[in-house]
């Protein structure tokens, strides 16, 4: 496991496109100490390597085909309704090419 320190945690935060105050990173660091100790309970079990990871509690298969019926999608107004920045029927973003 990668060693955790403030820089690593800041990198993890940056990958998520978010940031925190310095004191919050300190809180997080002490939280990591606890979580790492709690994780030890899992780490100690060497039998686990032979077990397949469980991704969902059980399989639910969706195999039927839907009828080929036309349905009303969201209207443009509905799709844009919650965006804080829009212009000309589209969501507006800062220029990508400067």
């Amino acid at each position: 496991m990668k060693e955790y320190n403030i820089e690593v945690l800041k990198d993890a935060a940056n990958r998520l496109l978010l940031d925190m105050s310095e004191s919050e990173y300190q809180t997080l660091l002490s939280e990591f100490d606890i979580v790492t100790k709690q994780m030890k309970a899992i780490g100690d079990n060497s039998e686990l390597d032979k077990i397949e990871p469980m991704v969902f509690p059980f399989e639910i298969y969706t195999s039927e085909l839907r009828e080929d019926e036309a349905k009303e999608p969201l209207t443009r107004e509905e799709a844009l309704r919650n965006s804080p920045r829009k212009v000309g029927g589209q969501i507006k973003l800062p220029k990508v090419v400067q």
Binding site: M1, A12, F56, P57, S83
Partner: protein, 485 residues
């Protein structure tokens, strides 16, 4: 006047035209406005009154007709603000109803409000939502938590404002607050109720939850909400039952297991004694209750396994909250800056920390050792549970090791009592099993509960056994005493 009455009782009054949906709704809204537990995000006054007014002729065979209810604010409600108690969704107004909400509206139940929660349902205390702490109605001095994350729904049901409320449950977010607030709190089998429109937290664990004040009322709500939904590919095609019809017909040949090691970690002697007395009463009444064993180390690993899996899943599920498609306007010269500003300001500190833990667990160097290992452990735990279920039909346990904690009280997060007794309800989420908490007793005038967990899709059995336990405890229709402040 109608405060604290059950669905069953209100239905009787409605059918006999002793009360109208409009009168019930008006009273519920008045009580909601006076709520002093910080339970509501939004009171749907005009929406609810319009629905109630349209309900004229009682539907004799529809127990939910005209019944007011509350929706946890992490479920989409068409044209009604839905924030998940997060500032990043301030002002967000969905354009569709979650399927579970749509089904209840089709059954002519009347939604009167959106309840607050731990931010985006991540948390178990009812303190991290953007409105702050939600209080336990059983303690009018506001010193105790009601628990989370479905804190608002638990508080409004315990306060008698509505006879039922929707919650959600990823680790124990419906069943733990139910224990603290004298309620029935139920999570169905994973896939039994559609999750379309429920904000995903950790989809491999998430279910919709139901709060009521009696077991039978809970079965009524499941009757109206269970079933396959083509909008949710993880909703199940397993046939739905009538969960009320045979609720009084528990087959005493069915066997109940109690995991000794969970009980052993509980230090509160009164609560433990109440549980053992209850087991004795069950045995005296002809039920088969036996103690079984689970490795303490495995039980102590439940919380870490849950934490890693849920944080990692949450990290990717909340990537869509970027302040661009919805959420308050944020500044920035590039789209990354816009997103980063929106997310930095929009998320509370607790969930940011959880996201970072999730991101750390998913880093290339850590994924196998943390995330995948937690998933492997999840299977090991579920395999062990399935072994128990080969011989037994139910697992019976205390839902929590204590009455509702005081605000600011902290527990030793490395103790077995915390890791096991306080977190074992997550077993139901790991294995996707139906699991119901109901009241067992009161200590210092605060309730505490037990939990019944059945086999996948055996909701009928879970309700039947819970109904029997409710008869033994005599604790149903509990409403917090004292007037709202």
């Amino acid at each position: 006047m109608y405060r604290g009455l059950s669905i069953e009782k209100l239905h009787e009054l409605l059918v006999n035209k002793k009360v109208t949906p409009l009168e019930l709704t008006k009273e519920a809204i008045e009580l909601a406005k006076k709520d002093s537990n910080n339970a509501f995000e939004y009171i749907m006054e005009s929406e609810a009154l319009a629905i109630a007014e349209s309900l004229k002729e009682p539907e004799v065979n529809n127990p939910l007709w005209g019944i007011p209810f509350v929706i946890k604010d992490n479920m989409s409600t068409k044209d009604v603000p839905t924030t998940g108690s997060s500032n990043i969704l301030r002002g967000y107004v969905p354009v569709f109803d979650a399927t579970v909400v749509a089904k209840l509206k089709e059954a002519h139940a009347v939604p009167i409000g959106k309840s607050t929660l731990d931010e985006l349902a991540m948390g178990g205390t009812g303190t991290s939502g953007h409105l702050g702490t939600t209080y336990n109605p059983f303690d009018r001095s506001h010193t105790r938590l009601v628990g989370g994350s479905s804190c608002g729904s638990a508080a409004v049901t315990a306060d008698g404002i509505v006879p039922f409320a929707l919650g959600s449950d990823t680790g124990d977010s419906t069943r733990k607050p139910a224990s603290y607030a004298g309620l029935v709190g139920f999570k169905p089998t994973w896939g039994r109720i559609s999750r379309y429109g429920l904000f995903p937290f950790a989809p491999s664990l998430d279910t919709v939850g139901i709060f009521t004040r009696s077991v039978k009322d809970c079965a009524y709500v499941l009757n109206a909400t269970a079933g396959r939904d083509e909008k949710d590919m993880t909703s199940s095609v397993v046939p739905v039952h009538d969960y009320v019809k045979d609720i009084e017909k528990f087959d005493k040949k069915r066997k109940i297991a109690v995991i000794q090691e969970i009980l052993d970690t509980i230090t509160d002697k009164d609560i433990k004694k109440a549980f053992l007395d209850n087991i004795n009463k069950l045995k005296e009444s002809g039920f088969t209750v036996e103690f079984v064993h689970m490795d303490t180390k495995m039980l102590a690993s439940l919380f870490a396994t849950y934490f890693v899996i849920s944080c990692a899943e949450a990290t990717s599920n909340n990537a869509n909250l970027d302040g661009i498609k919805f959420g308050p306007l944020s500044k920035g010269d590039t789209y990354e800056e816009v997103m980063k500003n929106a997310r930095t300001k929009g998320f509370g500190e607790l969930i940011k920390r959880r996201f970072i833990i999730g991101s750390f667990a998913l880093m290339k160097e850590n994924k196998e050792e943390l995330f995948v290992r937690a998933q492997r452990n999840r299977r090991a735990v579920v395999d062990k549970l399935n072994e128990i279920y080969k011989e037994y039909d139910f697992i019976y346990a205390l839902a929590a090791p204590s009455i509702a904690p005081k605000i600011g009280e902290s527990s030793d997060r490395l103790s077995d009592e915390y890791l096991i007794a306080d977190n074992h309800l997550v077993l139901g989420n790991f294995a996707g099993l139906p699991s119901l908490t109901l009241p067992l007793g009161l200590k210092d005038n605060m309730p505490f509960g037990v939990n019944v967990m059945g086999k996948a899709f055996d909701e009928v059995g879970v309700f039947q056994l819970s109904y029997e336990i409710e008869k033994i405890t005599g604790l149903k229709d509990l409403v917090a005493k004292g007037e709202q402040k």
